[in-house]
Amino acid sequence: MLNALKDVRTMKALLTRAEAEAVQSGDDLPGPEHLLLSAIELPDGTASAAFGRLGVDPNDFRSAVDRAHRDALGQFGVAVSSELLSDLPGAEAPSGPYRMTSPGQQVFQRAFALAKETKPSLLRSAHVVVAVCEQDRGTVARALQAQGIDRERLAAAAREALAAG
């Protein structure tokens, strides 16, 4: 019962921050990359620890996402001034129920299912890491690849972080 209450709190923190990440970066809806950025900041620390176990600063993922988008445009000769990104005016987070991209929903549901399988049955940020690592296409896969991070190794590190903490 207490765990269920904690899960609700974790989900709310995860989704609220993911939404803010999406709004700030100009994306229509939160997707896997925003869920991962949000998970890295969650106070249980297991997502952040998963990156740490690979010797990577978890905060580098944010710039890796921006770089992945810039590189994708650069391949077709579109150069984007980084000033546009850094000077982007803030926008209101949407009100009403949480909405996500379809891959974002898949990550969220998978993370929750993974949490049910582990003991204690409690949603933690590293479950989100394992779930995003299972998607082999998309912005997260590209950003991690650009960072030289193998998704299977990151997922394994996330499982270790869950077992340890």
Binding site: G26, H69, A72, L73, F76, L84, L85, G90, R142
Partner: protein
Amino acid sequence: MRSSTKVDDVIDRVEIPEPDDPEAALAAVVALRRLANQLERAAAAQALRDGWTWAQIGQALGVSAQAAHKKLALKKET
């Protein structure tokens, strides 16, 4: 005209993605959408500073004033 020459310069530099590399092409689509949203937000903020109304911004974007405001309303400074 000077301004159209500038646009031509930009368009000349954009190479249309080859469909035989769908991964790169689809990633570019995602990045272009994100870029369009970022440009939209930055330009709407500038338009507001220049005294445009939401109705005018909506007209320029081809949407209603309400739709423009809902999507692009600036975060209130705290």
